[in-house]
């Protein structure tokens, strides 16, 4: 056989110092693999599992996809829960701001236009630099710079200027009052000279952990930063694996390769009955809703909207499509938030829904689908292809709407394909945060945002709504704000530009009895993964095992 030579030829074709050894290694390996004893391998796995758990000071976590950036200016750790970077303040479990790099909460001038922050003393970045006001200024200016296309800019629309009063004092000046401004000072602070860092290795923060290793698309390894200003975390080494595939995460957790993972509810079953694992279900403000385009012949029709609003059984949807992992949603603002108003809530009642349709002249046709003067009550429902959860939601809506005589045709598409069609076709949309009512409403419903990127996808346009949103944004007193968002929610309940369906639950599984302190009643925002989850407060974990 001339095979070896040909094989060598292939190798030679690309002179690459790894290839030859590695592939020959693989060859040998196959021989060995042929004679691996089945009985040893599983036990090997167990040992692996044991090994990870015994080292309680280290944890291996499988999160979902890798964040697009590790730079807070570009959206990383938007809510200040960064392990690497820290903001001036952060939002606690109770959603109340608490000072971090700031000595105490920013003091607001009476006119509500200036916020002054005094920085904590003796804080150093991982590279040894001392934290000072310039760093804060630089970071915020970078976030405001349109060149960076920072998602954080959305939070900072009110911010006019940032200046360093002295080395330890920063003053924020707003264009107009914004009572919620404090929640936006969660932005993670970078050294002035490194605000445009892209690769995680370059991201230098003040946080309890610093980056030890990083392989794109694969893993991020953090170790406790020796000279952290706060108290040292007990878990000193954390490995985050980026595994897009839900199933792969489940399997790796089961095989003991990882200690904790974000999982889809369908995959929880086997872990729930297993004492070795601790299942954590987090309530969220992460809603899923149907965006009903104003322009659509069917989707724009009030009767149809009301029918869907009242006709869809949200609980059934949660029990079915979400496998119980969630709770009904009626609006963008979660019940936990102070701005929440119950005007949005409705009692699911197909009967009234059908009545409404009948009255509006939508009469059932031979094919079981209603129609009004030639127009069938049918519309396409887009969802991002590959997102099983939204696909399930779409399927459930299709099933329930059919009962009402409305035909819904789910269609899985890439975001590129979805965007141009948002003005005409319905969409399963997901977003929401418990912290900032302005953020979870303004971009979605203000007419100025119609079809701006993925803002206000339905093109909803209502003067009352716009007014209410602006009022809410400008509100100085909390009472003012609450009132404004009450109006917003009334408008939503009245016009029904969207039909809100459910807040999806974020589920995590973690190896039991090894750590403690991770199970806090946190309400998570839409974004989760590296920041959210049981490891949200990783620094304050204790090693239960000893």
């Amino acid at each position: 056989m001339r095979l070896p030579s040909c094989y060598r030829r292939v190798m030679r074709m690309f002179r690459n110092r790894y290839s030859a050894p590695l592939s020959s290694l693989l060859l040998v390996g196959l021989v060995l693999a042929g004679c691996t004893d089945p009985t040893t391998s599983p036990s090997g796995e167990r040992e692996g599992a044991a090994a990870t758990s015994s080292r309680a000071t280290e944890v291996v976590v499988a999160t979902g996809g890798e964040p697009d950036s590790f730079n807070p200016v570009l959206g990383y750790a938007r809510w200040g829960d960064g392990k690497i970077v820290e903001g001036l303040v952060r939002l606690g479990v109770d959603l109340e701001p608490e000072p971090v790099l700031a000595e105490e909460l920013p003091e607001v001038a009476d006119d509500g236009l200036t916020y002054t922050v005094t920085l904590r003393e003796g804080v150093t970045f991982h590279d040894g630099q001392e934290l000072d006001a310039e760093d804060v200024v630089a970071t915020y200016e970078a976030a405001l710079d349109p060149e960076n296309g920072s998602p954080v800019a959305a939070d900072l629309t009110a911010l006019e200027s940032v200046e360093a009063v002295d080395g330890r004092t920063v003053r924020f000046t707003l264009a107009h009052p914004q009572s919620a401004f404090v929640t936006t000072t969660t932005l993670g602070i970078l050294p002035a000279d490194q605000v445009d860092a892209t690769s995680p290795e370059d991201v230098v923060g003040t946080g309890p952990y610093q980056v030890e290793g990083y392989r794109a698309g694969e893993r991020l390894v953090l170790t406790a930063s020796p000279d952290y200003w706060g108290e040292q975390p007990e878990v000193t080494r954390a490995t985050f694996l980026f595994v897009d595939d839900d199933a792969a995460r489940a399997a790796r957790l089961a095989s003991g390769e990882v200690d904790a993972a974000l999982l889809p509810t369908q995959a929880l079953g086997r872990f729930e009955d297993d004492g070795a694992y601790d299942v954590i279900r987090r309530d969220t403000a992460d809603f899923r809703a149907l965006v009903l385009p104003e322009e659509g012949e069917v989707t724009g029709d009030p009767a149809i909207r009301t029918a869907l609003q009242t006709g869809l059984d949200r609980q059934a949807l949660v029990d079915g499509a979400l496998a119980g992992a969630g709770r009904p949603a009626y609006g963008p603002i979660p019940p936990e938030a102070p701005e929440y108003s119950d005007v949005v809530e409705v009692e699911a009642n197909p009967r009234t829904a059908e009545q409404r349709l009948e009255e509006a002249g939508w009469v059932e046709g031979a094919d079981g689908v209603r129609a009004r003067d030639g127009q069938r009550a049918a519309f396409t429902l887009m969802y991002p292809a590959g997102d099983t959860l939204r696909q399930n939601v779409a399927l459930e809506v299709q099933a329930q709407a059919a009962e009402l005589g409305i035909e819904v045709e789910p269609e899985g598409l890439s975001w590129e394909a979805i965007e141009p069609r948002m003005s005409s076709d319905a969409l399963v949309y997901g977003s929401g945060n418990p912290y900032n009512a302005d953020l979870s409403t303004y971009p979605l419903f203000h007419s100025s945002r119609a079809f701006q990127g993925f803002d206000n996808p339905g093109g909803y346009d209502s003067a009352e709504m716009d007014a209410a949103l602006e009022a809410g944004r400008a509100a100085q007193e909390d009472s003012e704000r609450v009132e404004a968002y009450a109006t917003v929610q009334e408008q939503l309940a009245q016009d029904l530009p969207w039909v809100f369906l459910a807040y999806v639950e974020h589920d995590y599984v973690i190896e039991a009895d090894t750590w403690a302190g991770y199970d806090v009643p946190l309400v998570e925002p839409h974004e989760h993964g590296l920041q959210g989850g049981p490891w949200w407060n990783l620094p304050s974990w204790t090693t239960a095992g000893g």
Binding site: F14, N16, S23, P38, G149, S150, G217, R219, A251, F454
Partner: protein
């Protein structure tokens, strides 16, 4: 699965046979042209598609990001013509700058340097196994034409050939990783360990390599089977038998051995199928090779990486075909007589 049409002896795979040097020159001249054309077509396609560079570079961020900013970036995004883009890409590429991969978030050259060895390892290991297996099975069947063994092997190979690698991979994962729990479900190294340890890699490599090998084996098996059968039907075997050569030896030396020739000489022709298989297998087992990176880059519209990888595979295939033709001329003793 390009195999079906290819279960043939090299005589038919290479109908026309120009002289070796001419062939070499011709192919090597074709290569740059080919690569140039391919990339140009890519850029041209990229022009008239839902392909949005801004979204591509922003990725998921585009969804959470504030609308006006996104629009602003779009306005700034220059849309030059395909040809300019193409020229620019080549300009940089020839200076060794392949651009930065948005899906892998690191320079394309680094991505390839990191991932190529894994793919080559996977492919070469699978190739070796596939060939050995193919010879074994094909020889067995070919030397017993018409026997139940022959029919069984023939049917089995066809069935295997009809089984898509990704499906076989899934089944393998279910059986060996999920059900029996003997082997890991994917990846090339255990997450806990930062370093690359031989045994660890091997455990991870078993399934991918076997599945890839299995996807290639039928073709080799059928080639050997048919070639053996042809050899067996020929005069030399009868002559050898009449000379009194012991049957076992006769089959081995005069039937199977000639059949190895076409096999060896057309290994190179398998490169495309091998790559195809690698793409699927690497995806199923999330093997950190270039093939799976191709898919990611396509899914995330990571243009620089996609272009680079396409060029890479093109070159691979051309060289493979070339190797096949050369090998054919070098190895085949009968080639001299063909024209006579």
């Amino acid at each position: 699965m390009d195999d079906r049409r290819r279960v043939r002896l090299p005589t038919r795979l290479h109908p026309a046979r120009p002289p070796l040097t001419g062939l070499l020159v011709g192919r090597l001249l074709l290569l740059p042209v080919l690569v140039a054309v391919v990339t140009l077509v890519m850029f041209a396609l990229a022009q008239r598609t839902p392909f949005d560079p801004v979204l591509a570079t922003l990725g998921e961020r585009a969804l959470t990001m504030d609308g006006p900013t996104l629009e602003a970036m779009r306005d700034r995004a220059s849309d030059t013509g395909a040809v300019q883009q193409w020229a620019a890409w080549w300009g940089n590429a020839l200076q060794g700058d392949l651009g930065v991969s948005s899906s892998q978030r690191s320079p394309v050259s680094t991505v390839i340097a990191q991932r190529l060895p894994w793919t080559l390892g996977l492919m070469s290991a699978a190739l070796v196994l596939a060939v050995l297996g193919g010879v074994l099975v094909g020889g067995l069947a070919g030397t017993r034409p018409g026997s139940w063994a022959d029919r069984a092997v023939g049917g089995g190979l066809l069935a295997t050939q009809a089984a898509p690698p990704f499906w076989v991979g899934l089944v393998a994962v279910w059986v060996f990783a999920v059900w029996l729990g003997w082997l890991p479900t994917g990846g090339a190294t255990s997450p806990g360990s930062g370093s690359v340890e031989a045994l660890d890699v091997l455990r991870h490599a078993v399934l991918p390599v076997l599945v890839l090998a299995l996807s290639q084996l039928p073709w080799f098996g059928l080639v050997v089977r048919d070639a053996t059968r042809d050899a067996l039907a020929g005069v030399p075997v009868r002559a050898g038998w009449a000379r009194g050569i012991p049957t076992a030896r006769l089959l081995r030396q005069h039937a199977v051995r000639p059949a190895l020739l076409p096999l060896v000489t057309v290994l190179g022709v398998r490169v495309p199928e091998l790559i195809t298989g690698a793409v699927l297998v690497e995806t199923v087992f999330s093997w950190p090779g270039v093939a799976s990176a191709t898919v990611d880059s396509a899914l995330r519209l990571d243009f620089p990486l996609l272009a680079a990888l396409t060029v890479l595979t093109t070159v691979l295939v051309v060289l493979g075909n070339l190797a096949a033709d050369v090998a054919y001329r070098v190895v085949d003793p009968r080639v001299g007589r063909r024209d006579g």
